[in-house]
């Protein structure tokens, strides 16, 4: 009896919600209850079904089975407009913003009324001031930082005066300081009686802020809990379903005698287009045996730096990039690879691997120049047997899970494909390894394996450069961390001195001197 009256008081009751894509059951009879004025966490690894679940709540996907009860009434939500009408607002993970439009126009598009754009801009300004989310409604989205874009999404959502706000991994793109501001806003909204469904795989912030949590694994609910009573590792174990391996970072053998293997000297590059960031006088040295990390909020020039180092874009002077003592600034990708460098770009499908080609073919594409003798016989004939053997070796070492003997790259899940791509490069034992976002969207178990492999490579004497937006990851694998902000690269900070706070300040644009001062004062 007690539970029914409790359930009646809930804002949202979801029972047995199911969604099937082909043979994959993305959500399998999911139950979820959210009360008024509650921050509810939805936890789970990538592919656990979190996004599918909230898309059904927001009307962008149609459930195959199950009921949604809103304020005690059973409702069917078939379009986002209906969801908004009920009072459900959503802040998307991959922002649903239009780059070529202004902030106010973006907001106008999600409001159903025919309000003039000037009124909307005015209202947006009011809301942004009331909640401490500064925003110029007439700025073009393409010019804004990721944090500012998220503000637009939140303001857009608030203007609809929702009772339930769904946030899909909101902090994955923010600096720690920006995330703190977001938490303040969310807590304020909770105090106003609004409910929040908070999706994340960052356990610390869930523990800090959320009142209740629902954990999903493989599309099924595996538990409801109070995150404040759990530890981060107990939550992680619930999500993964087994113990997560710990990454071991042996002491760095770094000595000043170690030769610099990768050097960047006074690298500058003008912006490529209106939404691209210039590189401004970048200096960097990575020694053998060392892992250097580059932190930064997305879109501060990391992609441009990666392109410059990998040779996708060549430099103006040969000396701007030096690989193992050779000036490589004017060389293309293959020539840089021949010098012993390996590169793993951020985008897996279409950049790191050709989606429609098989794994063996992808292996050949990446290595036909560097390992010509092994994979290409006289007359340019491909040696299939060698390729098959090498692919099998990589798959075994990296524990790549696949459904067929030699599947197309696009048939692999993101995490497994990433393991294959990293394994493909590691298999060459490169002397320089440059990785952009090594574990983005990869589940915890696979991420631990990839990180360990990078550390092991460095300890065997190679230079490893890791570009990542995940600070936890950088602190786990790096010996020193530099920060990119607006095309500038900061001095590397040895890991022993680095803290989240210091790195976060640099990510927000503070100068090196200010950071050591601020940290000294605190």
């Amino acid at each position: 009896m007690n539970t029914t009256s409790e359930q009646r008081k809930n804002l949202l009751n979801v029972r047995g919600l199911t969604k099937v894509f082909g043979t994959l059951v993305a959500c399998d009879h999911v139950d979820l209850a959210i009360g008024h004025g509650e921050i509810h966490a939805l936890l789970g690894e990538n592919g656990a079904g979190k996004s599918t679940l909230v898309k059904m709540l927001f009307g962008s996907l149609e459930p195959a089975d199950g009921t949604i009860e809103w304020n005690g009434d059973i409702v069917s939500i078939s379009t986002p407009a209906e969801a908004r009408h009920l009072g459900i607002g959503m802040v998307f993970q991959h922002f649903s913003l239009f780059e070529a439009l202004t902030a106010a126009e973006n907001i106008a598009l999600s409001l159903d009324t025919q309000t003039p754009i000037t009124t909307i801009a005015e209202k947006a300004r009011e809301v942004s001031q009331a909640y401490g989310l500064p925003l110029d409604p007439y700025s073009l989205v393409g010019d804004l930082s990721v944090g500012e874009r998220q503000r637009i999404e939140i303001i857009r959502c608030l203007l609809q005066e929702p009772q339930l706000i769904i946030l899909d991994e909101p902090t994955s793109v923010l600096t720690p300081q920006e995330a703190d501001k977001l938490f303040e806003t969310l807590e304020r909204l909770r105090d106003e009686g609004k409910s929040i469904l908070y999706i994340s795989h960052r356990l610390e912030e869930v523990k800090r802020m959320c009142d209740n949590a629902t954990v999903l694994r493989h599309g099924k609910v595996v538990g409801h809990c109070d995150p404040r009573r759990e530890t981060a590792s107990s939550l992680a174990n619930m999500m993964v379903g087994s113990e997560v391996g710990k990454v071991v970072r042996p002491a760095s053998p770094m000595s000043d005698a170690a030769e610099p293997v990768l050097e960047i000297r006074a690298l500058s590059r003008p912006p490529d287009g209106p939404f691209s960031v210039p590189l401004r006088d970048i200096w960097m040295t990575v020694h053998g045996g060392e892992v250097l990390g580059i932190a930064g909020v997305a879109g501060n020039g990391q992609g441009e730096l990666f392109e410059a180092i990998s040779g996708e874009v060549t430099q103006r002077a040969a000396g701007e990039v030096r690989i193992r003592g050779t000036d490589a600034g004017l060389l293309g990708i293959s020539k840089r690879r021949l010098l012993g460098a390996a590169f793993v770009p951020e985008e897996r499908l279409g950049h790191g691997a050709a989606p429609e080609l098989r794994l063996t073919e992808n292996l050949l594409l990446a290595r036909h120049r560097t390992d010509q003798a092994s994979y290409v016989a006289a007359g340019g004939v491909i040696r299939r047997d060698a390729l098959t053997k090498a692919t099998k070796r990589i798959v075994d070492i990296m524990d790549v899970r696949k459904s067929a003997e030699d599947p197309e790259a696009s048939a692999l899940s993101g995490g497994n494909l990433q393991k294959f791509i990293i394994g493909r490069e590691l298999d060459r034992s490169p002397r320089v390894m440059v990785v952009n976002q090594p574990t983005w969207g990869v589940d915890a178990g696979a991420a631990a394996r990839i990180r360990q492999a990078l550390i092991d490579l460095a300890r065997s004497g190679s230079a490893v450069l890791v570009i990542s937006q995940d600070l936890d990851e950088l602190f786990e694998v790096c010996d020193a961390i530099s920060v990119m902000h607006n095309g500038h690269l900061s001095q590397p900070m040895p890991i022993a001195e680095a803290t989240f706070e210091k790195i976060g300040l640099l990510m927000g644009g503070a100068e090196g001197a200010e950071v050591s001062h601020a940290a000294g004062a605190s």
Binding site: L61, F92, L97, F98, E99, A100, L101, E105, L109, S110
Partner: protein, 306 residues
């Protein structure tokens, strides 16, 4: 009527079909759909317009039929690319080839038949003004439509709510779908608008320009309209400028050939293309503006996930 006035009038007549077809394609492309079938839709409009006008004796009925024919043809394109998600480039090319052939078949019995000309509308008093009188106030109805169309499209795109929705679909169909905007429906409407405009542009050729039917009479104008849209960075008033520039140079080079300047005629014939490209490239030098105005999802297929 002075020489200058006559020249200006021919320029307007040459520019009008380009302007109308390009304006339709601009709206289609702003929604993210690349329809390379402009030439095919235009010639279908031309043949249908001529056939109906010459059978009924009413040029106005012919014009209406041309619009409907263009729209029907674009609907075929819409069904293939939006519903069946075929490749837009290949489908557009096929539409052009189909239109050129089909119109030849339909129009076989009409070759050499006398046409009906859409009469000019003279605005009293104003059309008697010197030089510009006939040019601005004594034109055929399709000329007036083309100017109103440009102003209307410019207003619609940048000052109306529906235009904002259309631009958003062209910028990112994924985001638009996530917001609950009906991407496919909007694209169908945009494609049909483009078809209607192409049909009308065709009617201008067979009812105003040369009131008769000749096989293949569009003579590549659809392709020029397509190019104008791109070079004008998808902005309506620039399309107008480009269409008139093209018209002016093509008429100018004819007069130059007649006067016999000793410049090879082949070079003169290529001048309109060269001049239009050079000028429009120069005015779209601002890369930022170009990128902002280019529909980011142009030509990409969209399948909503449900």
């Amino acid at each position: 009527m002075g020489i200058l006035e006559a020249v200006l009038l021919t320029i307007a007549t040459a520019a009008t079909p380009l302007l109308i077809a390009a304006m339709g394609e601009l709206v289609t492309e702003r929604s993210g759909v690349l329809n390379l079938g402009v030439e095919g839709m235009m010639i279908m409009g031309a043949v249908t317009g001529f056939a109906v006008a010459s059978s009924t004796g009413s040029a106005w009925l012919g014009m209406a039929a041309a619009i409907i024919a263009g729209m029907a043809f674009s609907l075929l394109f819409g069904f293939l690319t939006l519903t069946l998600v075929t490749n837009q480039v290949a489908t557009g090319l096929a539409l052009t080839l189909l239109g050129l052939g089909f119109s030849g078949m339909l129009g076989e019995g009409f070759v050499g038949r006398p046409g009906v000309k859409l009469g000019n509308i003279d605005i009293p008093v104003l059309s008697d003004l010197p030089v510009v009188g006939k040019l601005v106030f004594g034109q055929d109805p399709i000329f007036y439509i083309s100017i109103l169309l440009t102003a209307g499209v410019a207003w619609f795109l940048f000052y109306s709510r529906a235009g904002l929705t259309l631009r958003s679909v062209g910028d990112s169909h994924r985001s638009a779908h996530a917001l609950g905007i009906k991407v496919i429906r909007i694209r169908y409407l945009a494609v049909m608008f483009g078809g209607a405009c192409s049909g009308l542009a065709g009617a201008h050729l067979s009812l105003v320009y040369v009131p008769q039917w000749v096989e293949g009479m569009t003579a590549g104008r659809g392709w020029i309209a397509l190019a104008l849209v791109v070079f004008a960075s998808w902005r309506p008033w620039r399309v107008l400028a480009g269409a008139y520039l093209f018209g002016a140079v093509s008429i100018g080079q004819l007069h130059a050939q007649a006067l016999g300047f000793g410049i090879p005629s082949q070079l003169l014939s290529s001048l309109p293309y060269l001049a239009t490209i050079v000028v429009l490239v120069l005015i779209s030098r601002n890369r930022r503006l170009t990128v902002m105005n280019t529909p980011a999802s142009l030509g990409q297929p969209f399948v909503p996930d449900r």
